[in-house]
Amino acid sequence: MAQIIRSSPVLAFIGLQICFIFFASTLTCTSGSEDSYTITGRVKIPPSNVIGHTAKFSNVKVILNGGDKITFLRPDGYFTFHKVPAGTHLIEVSAMGYFFSPVRVDVSARHRGKVQATLTETRRSLTEMVLEPLKEEQYYEIREPFNVMNIVKSPMGLMVGFMVVVVFLMPKLMENIDPEEMKQAQEEMRRQGVPSLTSLLPSAGASR
């Protein structure tokens, strides 16, 4: 077919058409005996960037009808279910690190085992039985990288922060106050007898 495509664009178009028909009619289905058919498909896992999950086909299971039949992937990603009766079936793919939508598969008895596949999660129908993960699954929380703000935000950080504010910023604020007002306030305080820090720590003061 490749040669045809190279030779002429018109032929190439026809070739593509043929190709489509070919795919639509044969790739997802094959014949079988009267009441048992074969479902063939392919699982495609994109090259992963998730650490710890290598896209290994050997750990992937393809499950028909909730565990009625289980098959595994060939090195090229293809899988086959043999001796499937006509009807509506459900195919699930179990692969660690990926979420696959279950696939509704209609095996037609009238059209000699023609297979129609639909993703049940997205309701997207598949022209070819190529199953790709809807999303990657990350089973662990990702630790946030070291961040000063995290420490500051933690209760203990807030405590320290408050202390710092009181110790270093309050005197600064005091300095900005008009000295006369300050004196007045101090007088008032003395009159009222507000205890100073030294009297708050009498024992510490006494020991000196």
Binding site: T38, G52, K56, S58, K61, I63, L64, N65, G66, G67, D68, K69, I70, T71, F72, L73, R74, P75, T80, H82, K83, V84, P85, G87, T88, H89, L90, E92, S94, A95, M96, F99, P102, V107, T118, T120, E121, E137, Q138, Y139, Y140, E141, I142, R143, E144, P145, F146, N150, S154, M156, M159, V160, M163, V167, L197, T198, L201, A204, G205, R208
Partner: protein, 978 residues
């Protein structure tokens, strides 16, 4: 004010969706995962090449695995489907593992080093039959000899390279059952020997290239064969006749058949029925007669003579070539607590190549299977290793007189699980050393801090992990304050009871069930027999293990009482009647032994323990004991009540007759029972009422006597693809088991099973398949008590109508109403469980065992019938999640994180002493344990809590106080001077 703050806090807590989540470095701290394969059926060694020595095994759990022969670790394994039982294993071309499964209809090849499936071939099969896999042992790798497979009436030749079926021979018409396939080396003709209707022996000569029958010879044997066969050499097999009294040697040299009959009585005096044992020995066969194993040598003309005889308890391996023209086999027999392994030459049975005696744990039982392998030692002599399968399904490798490694494969077939407490830590019991210097303590916490700030180097991470494991003391054998350390008691199919430690999953003790009545009873179920709590504190807790002599339900039962602390059997009794149902009663005697009723097939119930005290307790409650039976086959649920003591000679005073109280009959043409479920009897419900957003009260209908029943149309009872939506409907019922009254009925049109359900408090959640949408659905049903709905405020509660003054009886008609809601769920489910905590305060999580053998934790708030599309502000504050059509699958809430619990069968939860935390144990082929906190650990500091940071803060604060004090004093002084 404080209350308001508390309420606000609660609201805040409840509105945040907490999901179980784990950082990667926390994996393995509170959880463990153990990988198993099951009882080994076949084993093929692969030790020819230098490099890794391995053994390929297939098991009764449908696992094919490659094990490291040095350490017994699993290189790779695959768990096939439940209906895909493995019939044969072989190694082809030196690089592929070939498995034949599903009664000879599926042939797969796996890459030997990494277990990747290389090809898969479906073979045609017409009917169920014995299947046969014959993988040629070819030394030349380049030449492709076909694999021959017989199954379901067809003989196939399959290319080992790509799995292509080279030819296929249909024998279904003749009814020909292939027994042996023989392929002489270098020949293109294969000989196929088989029987037609077990009376005629037929030998086909088939061209192995094209599959054409070159020649065919048949011969009728008048007596008929029994089907037991042993091939003794390349052209001879020995068969038993249908009466099991004559050994027939069938020779098929060059396609000619010859019979030679030898009555067993000629070989052994007073012989009964003979049985041909499975080991294949060259020019010899092993026959079991009169409970002894005799070795019969097959002479050149098919003449049989007895050469040796051994006791019955001998297990043998196939013979294997050791030197030129010499074949050897291994035999293992018991003597007290020792086993003797002997390797003998087949031709000279007196020539013992190897004799080893190995001390063997009594609780492993007898040796079931032996697989032998030889290797060449450095001094060019033959060395032997033997892989043995014990009665408790464990797998051991024996080499040089020692057990090199062992695997407890019994744990791959757990049938029932319960938990038990560890002993209280007393003086001198066992106190691990936890004290260490302050410096070490600080160093550890600085390391932890580094870890949580992501500043740790890989070595630090390892050190942190070690430190965490060590500091937590989680592996101690005493009870801890939080109830995190417990024993998990697991009963296996082999009838062995294991106690696993929750800390690291190690086996604390194990015990094989024994009985006088039968050789080895099967384990059925486990019950808490004695849990000393208030009284009898000096007693150790014990469990009741119910076993059965044989697989039939009418077989006599065996009860064993096992001390949980020591793992020793207290007593065991053959109870002489069958066990259909065991009912733990809510009564205990003065030593806190729980009363149990055991129902048998005759319709009687038996009370245990058989003491007069138990009897008097039981007599008091005689009128109040009800139970039900579910007849899944005839679609009838029956309620029973006690009638009187048994009459008859064999009856004792602990036996009672019963009468039927009610029946619920489901129409057999439209409904078939597929699932029944009740609440866990020991579940704790914290609150009876639920407060609505509009200050309304809803009273939960919390009854222990509710039974959830799911029925499906008979057509829909099969698998998913087999029925159209119009043909199938699913109906669920909530039935009161005292009165047989149906409290609620809900029908789902166009739905079918399998139904997996979980029942807790006043709600049921079940999972089924919706055929119309072609998706799985989950429905929640909550049941509320209408009769108490009037009692809305305190005054009404005190003065109004309520249950305190009116006598409450289960016979009164309950006024209930239900709420339900359905959601889609994107995966098949194997099992569902729910978390359980000590007081039932903590919100619940559903634990969904998915088809991918993972366990998903789903908050109960996702399956709340009060969810609406647009919840009001008040509802949002209450924590109601906006309604979505499907339940979310959040990858972080997989409690199994990056593990798979292969072949998942069940999930068991048990409360710890800490209210927030629950133990979760999942079993299947693998075991998995973890601790869960469904609403986070609100009642204790997490492991992550940084003590170092706290300490640093305190130090900093103290320092700051002193500095400011000094400054302030200075300032004051200077002011005084002024």
């Amino acid at each position: 004010m404080a209350i308001r703050v508390f309420l606000l806090l609660l609201l805040f807590l409840s509105s945040a969706i907490v999901s179980f989540s784990l950082y990667e470095d926390q994996a393995g701290l509170a959880d463990w995962h153990q990988r198993y394969i099951g009882k080994v059926k076949h084993a093929v060694f692969h030790t020819q090449k230098t490099g890794r020595k391995r053994v390929i095994v297939s098991t009764e759990e449908n696992v094919v695995a490659s094990l490291d022969l040095r350490h017994g670790e699993i290189f790779w394994r695959h768990v096939l489907g439940t209906k895909d039982a493995i019939d044969g294993v072989g190694i082809a071309l030196g690089k592929y593992v070939i498995t034949l499964s599903s009664e000879g209809s599926t042939l797969r090849a796996w890459n030997l080093p990494d277990g990747q499936m290389v090809w898969e071939t479906a073979l045609s099969s017409a009917h169920h039959s014995k299947s046969l896999l014959s993988v040629p042992i070819n030394l030349k790798v380049d030449k492709d000899y076909p694999i021959t497979v017989f199954g379901g009436g067809y003989l196939h030749a399959v290319s080992a390279i790509d799995g292509e079926v080279l030819w296929e021979k249909d024998f279904t018409a003749e009814g020909f059952e292939v027994q042996r396939v023989l392929q002489p080396l270098g020949s293109t003709v294969i000989y196929v020997l088989g029987f037609v209707n077990l009376s005629e022996a037929v030998v086909y000569q088939i061209d192995s290239k094209i599959g054409e029958v070159v020649a065919q010879k048949s011969m009728v044997f008048p007596g008929g064969f029994s089907g037991e066969i042993s091939s003794v050499s390349s052209d001879k097999v020995v068969v038993l006749d249908s009466k099991k009294s004559i050994l027939v040697t069938i020779g098929f040299i060059d396609g000619d058949i010859s019979f030679q009959k030898t009555p067993v009585s000629d070989l052994v005096e007073n012989s009964g029925n003979a049985e041909i044992l499975s080991p294949l020995l060259s020019n010899m066969l092993a026959v079991k007669v009169n409970k002894r194993t005799i070795f019969v040598k097959v002479g050149g003309e098919g003449k049989l003579e007895v050469v040796d005889s051994l006791s019955d308890e001998t297990a043998m391996s196939d013979s294997l070539p050791v030197a030129d023209d010499q074949e050897a086999f291994a035999s293992v027999h018991h003597e007290g607590s020792k086993i003797h392994l002997m390797v003998k030459l087949v031709n000279e049975l007196d020539n013992v190549l190897l004799r080893e005696t190995i001390q063997m744990d009594q609780h492993r039982g007898r040796v079931h299977k032996v697989f032998m392998n030889n290797y060449i030692r450095t001094d060019r002599s033959n060395g032997f290793r033997a892989l043995i399968v014990m009665e408790d399904h464990s797998l051991l490798l024996l080499q040089q007189g020692a057990i090199v490694w062992s695997r407890e494969e019994g744990l791959a077939s757990v049938t029932d699980v319960t938990t038990a407490e560890l002993p209280v830590e007393k003086d001198g019991v066992s106190v691990a050393k936890v004290e260490h210097t302050l410096f070490e303590w600080l160093k550890g916490h600085v390391l932890k801090l580094k870890g949580s700030l992501l500043l740790a180097s890989p070595e630090d991470v390892v050190a942190i992990q070690e430190l965490r494991v060590k500091s937590s003391g989680k592996n101690k054998l005493t009870r801890d304050h939080n109830g995190f350390r417990k024993l998990i008691l697991a009963l296996t199919r082999a009838g062995k009871l294991f106690a696993l430690h929750t800390g690291d999953g190690r086996i604390v003790w194990s015990m094989l069930l024994k009985s006088q009545a039968c050789e080895r009873p099967n384990g059925i179920s486990l019950y808490q027999w004695q849990v000393p709590h208030h009284h009898a504190m000096d007693k150790n807790p014990s469990v009741l293990v119910v076993g059965r002599c044989g697989s039939d339900s009418s077989a006599p039962g065996v009860l064993s009482f096992v001390d949980v602390y020591t793992g020793k059997k207290i007593t065991s009794s053959d109870i002489g009647h069958s066990v259909v149902q065991v009912l733990p009663l809510p009564f205990t005697d003065s030593t806190e032994q729980r009363l149990h009723l055991i129902a048998d097939t005759v319709g009687h119930v038996h009370l245990y323990p058989k003491t007069s005290e138990a009897l008097s307790i039981f007599q008091r409650e005689f009128q109040n004991i009800y139970w039900y039976t579910v007849g899944a086959d005839d679609g009838i649920i029956r309620g029973h009540v006690m009638k009187s003591s048994c009459s008859g000679e064999t009856a004792d005073e602990y036996c009672f007759t019963t009468r039927e109280l009610w029946t619920v009959v489901f129409p057999s043409e439209s409904e078939k029972i597929i699932s029944t479920l009740t609440r866990k009897p020991n579940e704790v419900v914290h609150t009876q009422a639920k407060v609505n957003t509009d200050q309304d009260l809803l009273y939960k209908y919390v009854s222990r006597n509710l039974l959830f029943v799911a029925t499906v149309s008979p057509k829909g009872a099969g698998e998913i693809g087999s029925v159209t939506p119009e043909e199938s409907s699913l109906v669920v019922y909530l039935i009161d088991t005292i009165t047989g009254r149906i409290l609620h009925r809900l029908s789902h049109q166009g739905c079918q099973g399998p139904v997996h359900a979980v029942f807790s408090e006043n709600w049921v959640v079940y999972h089924y398949f919706n055929l119309r949408a072609h998706k799985y659905e989950v429905t929640v049903v909550e049941i509320y008590d209408q009769s108490r709905a009037e009692n809305k405020n305190v005054w009404k509660l005190i003065l109004g109508k309520h249950n305190l003054t009116a006598p409450i009886t289960s016979y009164s008609r309950p006024e209930v109403f239900t709420k339900s809601q359905s959601y889609f769920f994107a995966q098949s489910v194997k099992t569902i469980a729910v978390t359980s905590t000590a007081k039932g305060i903590t919100s619940k999580q559903l634990l969904i065992g998915t088809i991918g053998d993972q366990i998903l934790a789903l908050d109960k708030r996702f399956v709340d019938p009060r969810r609406t599309l647009n919840p009001s502000q008040a509802e949002k504050e209450e924590g109601i999640i906006p309604l979505t059509d499907s339940l979310p699958i959040i990858p972080q809430s997989y409690v199994t994180h990056s593990h798979r619990v292969e072949g998942l069968k069940g999930i068991v939860t048990a409360p710890s002493k800490l209210e927030s935390t629950t133990h979760v144990f999942a079993y299947g082929v693998d075991l998995f344990y973890t601790r869960l906190a469904p609403s986070k650990t609100y009642d204790s500091l997490t492991d992550d809590f940084s003590y170092a940071l706290l300490l640093i803060t305190i130090v900093a604060l103290v320092a700051a106080i002193y500095i400011t004090w000094a400054l302030s004093e200075k300032k004051e002084l200077s002011e005084k001077w002024r």
